[in-house]
Symmetry: C2
Subunit: 251 residues, 2 copies
């Protein structure tokens, strides 16, 4: 058996998230169907991070086992020929022995895009949260700074989150405004609870609107109560941006 | 009667072009339907430049006459509430007396986006022409430079073009590569024939692929024969970027 690691990019608009669901198309089902057809064997893929319905990935990492009959370049090209255009295989390589796409991920980076403008744009609706009223970006940035470091993120876990521990470490939490009216919140960490990034962003936007002071972010981390935090930000602004592994392994 | 001028942005993916067609939705029909419903009177709009099926507009200008009962801000906000999300009214203002959205346009700028990469991106497929093999961008740029100035563009007119004269003046023709792997060709002029920008781009990509030398562009302008130029570039890369009027008129 050979272990293969793929980097995928996808526009999540048309999908019910990464993981196979009883109803509706998912990224996992589309990829498994294309690879099983291409390789003439049953393929099951695992992912570095599961994305929810409507969430995008600039670089998602998945792995699977196969018999190794087809060269890796055939998997990339043939897979892309069979996949719908909104899912692309960016690269295919052999994974090192014992590699686990989920467990071995050292850092995951998410970016959440905000479109701050009185008028929506037809080009950003699929990829950003449109907010009409001005936000206090200094307050938002100050609130965001409290998320960095090791914290218990119980206040920001989503419904149905089954993680055993809610303690996670955030390595970087920054607001970038390089291309107004688009701004993005960049959050990188060792792991994330279900809906955690979107719940943090929803709370930060409430802070930017003046509904809460920036210091409320720190209090929420201490209070450990989901009911007290802000709303869940909509999915279309969120991108799984990059997954980094312990060692730069190539086959 | 009041004359109103709107600036529209639209994602043309789901539409059969600007102009009303017997089959399928168009930008014009969607805008006229929304405005007629909002104003409770029959509205007919004209556009600065008609865009083809699948072509986008960052700033299209349209005008129409109404009885003037509703304030302009209501037209913008109410229109946006009734329009689908892929068409947005960016602004509404009263046009000066005798204004004609088509005749008075002094300059139209189009941008055509190329995505030059061995692998497609799910985020660019709606908005750029994906080209897998590398292009000689210096050759493309040299070919493009021949398009600037006053020329007879008969070699680049599309099927069904009904213009009486095929002479047009191109003010600017540039290749920009500020954000690789995305590049765009910027063409601004006093007027354009049907499919002219896409036919020029298709020819330039043939030049970039080495199928024709850069000087062929100049020859094609002299030969005045559509059959000799390159293919029509696909619509999704094209944006009507900006329309400039003679005077900066505001009501």
């Amino acid at each position: 058996m050979r272990r293969v690691r793929l980097i995928l990019a996808y526009d999540g608009t048309a999908y019910r998230g990464f993981q196979v669901q009883p109803n509706g198309p998912t990224i996992q089902s589309a990829v498994e169907e294309a690879l099983s057809r291409l390789l003439c064997e049953k393929v099951r893929v695992g992912a570095a991070g599961r994305t929810d319905a409507g969430v995008h990935a600039r670089e998602q990492v998945v792995d699977f086992s196969d018999s190794g009959k087809r060269p890796l370049e055939t998997i990339r090209k043939g897979g892309n020929a069979l996949l719908p255009q909104d899912i692309r295989i960016l690269s295919a390589e052999e994974a090192p022995p014992g590699f686990d796409v989920r467990r071995d991920a050292r850092e995951k980076e998410y970016r959440y895009f905000l479109h701050l403008s009185p008028v929506a744009s037809p080009f950003f609706t699929r990829y950003a949260w449109h907010i009409e009223k001005p936000l206090d970006l200094d307050a938002l940035r100050e609130g965001l700074s409290h998320a960095a470091g090791e914290h218990d993120f119980a206040s920001f876990r989503g419904q149905g989150c089954t993680a055993k521990t809610t303690v996670r470490t955030i390595f970087r939490a920054e607001l970038s405004g390089e291309m107004p009216p688009l701004h993005f919140i960049r959050i990188a960490g060792n792991g994330f609870l279900r809906h955690m990034v979107r719940n943090i962003v929803g709370t930060l936007v409430d802070i930017g609107k003046g509904k809460m002071p920036p210091g409320r972010m720190r209090e929420l981390l201490e209070l450990r109560d989901r009911a007290l935090a802000g709303p869940n930000a909509p999915p279309q602004g969120l991108f799984l941006w990059k997954v980094t592994y312990r060692i730069k392994e190539t086959a």
